[in-house]
Symmetry: C2
Subunit: 401 residues, 2 copies
């Protein structure tokens, strides 16, 4: 048994002062330090002093396979980026084998994140994910807009999905990712989603990321026209947007990006079991603009996307960026929202217990330094986002990293 | 004599590859490493390898006196913040004496900034600024909306300004700051600006920072009404905006914030020698919104404001925030703009040589790590902003910090 004390404890919904937690692999009790000391006299005590103890984060959308990228891919515009992905993919992907993947996972853990939604194109990182202390919802991605290649693409997807199903455990879940409406043929998407329905699997899909996607899907025009013609010999979009979205009707789905949606699309999703995944840094770097979070009818949460379109997988960086990309939200209340979403809510949508400090949950928490001069206690969430580069300590399943 | 080599040299307007610089206190020559080695055979050589050598930054708007603040002041709303400044000022200011000021200056230097515009309310930091390796344009601030206190306020200003004039040197210049149109009586501003005109002094003024300021100056309404009534017994604004702005007609002025300006105001400034100082982090944290940089007729540059409304004085943090607060600017070209402004242009407006890598200029430069996998050379500016927490080395007047 161990006891951890910090001046502030964020559940994260409330701020408790002068409370400690007793834990082994799970959180056993929350009470004042002296009470826990009396109750568990042989427990090891960690007094973190002027700090906050808060749950670890979940990051529901990453692409670990692209973790070798720092400056290989081009930023500034979605199509420029997409062409650079195609140009450099063969060079980039082999640069992220075991060591690079392990380094990415280590950085995720040390930045206070203990659960991820991993979008996997090839499945090479599957075993590593299943064996790591991270909770991983492993989304096997299907892609392929060309009907001629559909069978090969489907077979690859089925093989990976089956392999990941076998690895399922309390810390590893198999999910299904549909790459996007422009890159997955309707029939292929439908077949993959039938599997999701059968297995009650969680689904992830990129949707309405760029203006180019909108133009292509709505009018078969814009920069995607040249892209599809030259690279895939295709002249019509793989999907009609509303018909594509209707495929997700009876599923639990994470809709990623959703920047350029129509009123009709947002209305349709109202009654779906849908969560919007907001990746502000990625959106900004690829020139996709800013998600209008106030226009959504569904709840949203935050993710980093992969290192293919971000400089960091650290949720503190992402939360700071979110603060700057939504400058009209009150800094104090929005900061609390971001932390509550990134802990409790993101654990909930990925289906892993955690993201809260409560008895019976895994002892997954982090300790961050708090400025000595904090006056208005409710501003603690904002100061955590502003001042934290890395947490002082991260504890996963009761063990310090 | 010393020679510094890095794979990339940013002048900052151009990116030179495989060039080195020879320097003592000044930059002597720029040429390929082998050529400089032959020319200066006894020079000490620093090979920084896969890095970029670029000029140090100038940060034209800080308030060092408030450097003790981390979480004493309240964020989220300008008036809430202003009331917290008044509530905690007496506690906050004495917490920033010699040691705290020295720490702030050290952090500025180590983050690659070698010149500042310091807005000084009390002048206690004057000697420290004059003695530091920083180039300091020292803006003695005048404040006072109440005519009854005008003489005392003016006398304090004159005393500080005279003291700073005596300290002038190639690295320390005396300037004049008018706090704002709502806080400085017209006559007081006019008298201070007559001194500026006489001495050809550079002027700084906060303008159009909050929506509350706009409401108060335009209509004598809004949250400032209660503020002025209760704290100062004042029921009318200290200035009519256009009349106030006309005071700056024949001066060189840094207009700080300028978020809520009218078309007429921006038109008026067209023919003034005016630069707009943009403090995105401060604006965001105090709920003031975002400056529309495309609506300006005058050039702008970036500054951090003080630790009273920022979590950092590091220009890399500020540039990253600027990138996120202007998400519709192309990331690649905007990043270059930000670096060019923060080096060359900000040195120019503060009146200090530097901000460029060129023979005859002070040997003020920094070395930052560059990702190994940079493919598109013109994206180097963006990657510097995204990946730099602190420069690897900072060299001021030819000496490594
Ligand atoms: Fe993605
Ligand atoms: Fe200021």
């Amino acid at each position: 048994m161990q006891i951890a004390y910090a001046k502030y404890l964020l559940t994260p919904h409330t701020i408790e002062q002068d409370m400690a937690i007793a834990y082994d692999k799970e959180i056993i009790a929350i009470a004042p330090l002296e009470k826990l000391r009396a109750q568990f006299p042989s427990a090891e005590i960690h007094d973190y002093g002027n700090a906050a103890l808060l749950p670890t984060f979940a990051n529901p959308h990453v692409h670990l396979e692209f973790s070798a990228n720092r400056a290989t891919l081009s930023y500034g515009d979605f199509l420029v980026w997409l062409y650079s992905v195609i140009e450099h993919r063969e060079d980039l992907l082999p640069r992220c084998e075991k060591e690079c993947l392990e380094e990415a996972i280590k950085q995720i853990l040390h930045s206070g994140t203990s659960a991820i939604g991993e979008i996997s194109s090839y499945g090479e990182e599957m075993e590593l994910c299943a064996a790591s202390p991270l909770r991983v919802h492993f989304f096997n991605e299907i892609i392929g807009s060309n009907p001629a290649a559909a069978d090969v693409m489907y077979a690859s997807f089925i093989e990976r999905y089956a392999r990941s199903k076998k690895l399922e455990s309390p810390t590893f879940k198999a999910g299904i990712a549909i790459h996007s409406p422009y890159s997955v043929h309707y029939i292929l998407a439908k077949k993959a989603l039938e599997i999701a329905k059968r297995d009650n699997a969680l689904v992830s899909v990129h949707y309405a990321e760029s203006r180019a996607e909108r133009e292509w899907l709505d009018h078969a025009t814009g920069p995607f026209k040249k892209f599809f013609k030259e690279l895939l010999g295709q002249s019509t979009p793989a999907n009609e947007p509303m018909r594509f979205l209707e495929l997700f009707q009876d599923l639990r789905t994470l809709f990623v990006h959703m920047i350029n949606t129509t009123d009709k699309e947002r209305e349709l999703l109202k009654n779906f079991d849908a969560t919007i995944i907001h990746c502000p840094v990625s959106n900004r770097l690829l020139g996709n603009g800013v998600l209008d979070i106030d226009a959504l009818h569904n709840p949203y949460t935050l993710a980093t996307d992969g290192l293919s379109s971000n400089y960091s997988l650290n949720m503190y960086e992402e939360m700071r960026a979110a603060l700057f990309m939504h400058p009209y939200k009150n800094a104090v209340t929005f900061a609390k929202d971001l932390i509550v979403k990134s802990t409790d809510f993101s654990h909930e949508i990925l289906g892993f217990p955690g993201g809260k400090i409560a008895p019976g949950l895994p002892a997954n928490f982090q300790i961050v330094d708090i400025p000595d001069d904090l006056r208005a206690r409710e501003e603690i969430y904002l100061h955590i986002i502003l001042h934290t580069q890395l947490p002082r300590k991260v504890i996963i399943d009761g063990t310090e990293l």
